[in-house]
Symmetry: C2
Subunit: 214 residues, 2 copies
DNA sequence: TATTTCGCGATTGGATACAGAATGCAAGAC
DNA sequence: GTCTTGCATTCTGTATCCAATCGCGAAATA
């Protein structure tokens, strides 16, 4: 029974995974909510099997927590775990920014510049959805410049988790957010690896409104 | 039908995952080998379902690659990807070492010291299996001292992947390996965060025999 | 009234069944 | 002799089915 999508060529599991991820990240399904296979499968019009695999996939990404024989729920984090997430993400974003500054690829930088300009515009309006999408694009493009795909995958996973935690905050700092992006981009353009790294790390801490450790 | 194991209380999927991981990391299943659900399930005496989930799990860890409608195989890495793995792992091990040096917990350090002593002994004999197990213990204990569980999970995943790639190398540098461990431990004991980080990163590069980038 | 036990419904874990896609091989055309 | 085409086989993707377990509430007992 097809969802409303182009029938048989994209594995159903992938679609379900994407749908659930979307719903979790957007806050449509709240933190801690139980995710019952049967309910979800009925809701999406597929069998339990793709739902099952989607939940495992999301569990691997850390968005969902599965307890054996008890089922899945949207992951909740303790304050301690939030700090941990931010700490790791800051470190990896710093590494990526450093790499980006070193590689310094003009055409990719041009693309990033364009995303930045668009984002600066959007950050005036307070369209939360559009802003978060543009934010995603910026970080994704920066990851491309860094050019380490392993790193990018890990950062993406961390970004998802932090995004779902700090979404409420990020709404209130659209402008500062894009000013920080601009500063990072400048450092990358200048090939100033150390500065880029520093700014990227600080950017992560700021977005989480967590004081950078001492 | 049960594998030869304690019946019904540990989720089968977990057992299968562990079995496959073991086989891959030990090199029993070679890089690039196709992993056919039916074959494996028959071989292990379980249905395809736990095997399927195990493969997805391992794919999430990066040990296995799944192509839609083509199936799973043991991940192979290009030289470029190997460099990327090492680069990220070095950065995260450095972070963890830094945290460990800062936290500096005496009782945990005592445990690590003991593992180190045992390892130094074992490194004389060239029992590859025992050595790699002890190596695992050392890094795991160091991760505990660092105290960031998110970080530790990511490092573990990276460690698995690098271990499977560089196993041939590591056999020939048992002693140097443990000397480096000793140096890291000393820096942690001294609370010298910067040095610990530096040594940990260098240790990763050395284990991979990849020149630390410039 | 508080507490323990039992049983039932809800839910997950695992097996089996079936349909559709990919691959390899063989037969035929050029 | 080589390339193409079509068929048979193999394998994955999804659905359905059965068994085992968990949680909760009701009932029984102290």
């Amino acid at each position: 029974m097809n969802i409303a999508l182009g029938a048989t060529h994209a594995p159903l599991t992938k679609l379900v995974t994407a749908a659930l991820r979307e719903r979790i990240l957007s806050g449509d399904i709240p933190l801690g909510e139980r995710l019952i296979e049967g309910k979800l499968s009925e809701e999406l019009g597929v069998s339990r099997m793709p739902v099952r695999e989607a939940l495992r996939e999301l569990a691997a990404e850390g968005l969902v927590t599965i307890e054996p024989r008890r089922g899945a729920s949207v992951t909740t984090f303790t304050e301690e775990q939030k700090r941990e997430l931010v700490e790791v993400r800051a470190t990896l974003e710093a590494l990526n920014a450093k790499l980006a500054a070193k590689r310094h690829d003009p055409s990719q930088i041009a693309e990033l510049q364009q995303i930045l300009d668009e984002g600066a515009g959007i950050s005036e309006s307070e369209d939360a959805i559009q802003l978060s999408q543009q934010n995603f694009r910026f970080h994704e493009a920066l990851g491309n410049i860094g050019g380490n795909s392993v790193l990018q995958d890990m950062i993406r996973s961390l970004r998802d988790r932090t995004a779902m935690l700090f979404a409420p905050i990020s709404r209130h700092r659209g402008k500062q957010n894009w000013q920080e992006h601009a500063a990072i981009l400048r450092a990358v353009i200048d090939g100033d690896a150390e500065l880029a790294a520093l700014l990227a790390a600080r950017h992560v801490y700021n977005a989480a409104q967590i004081p950078q450790d001492g």
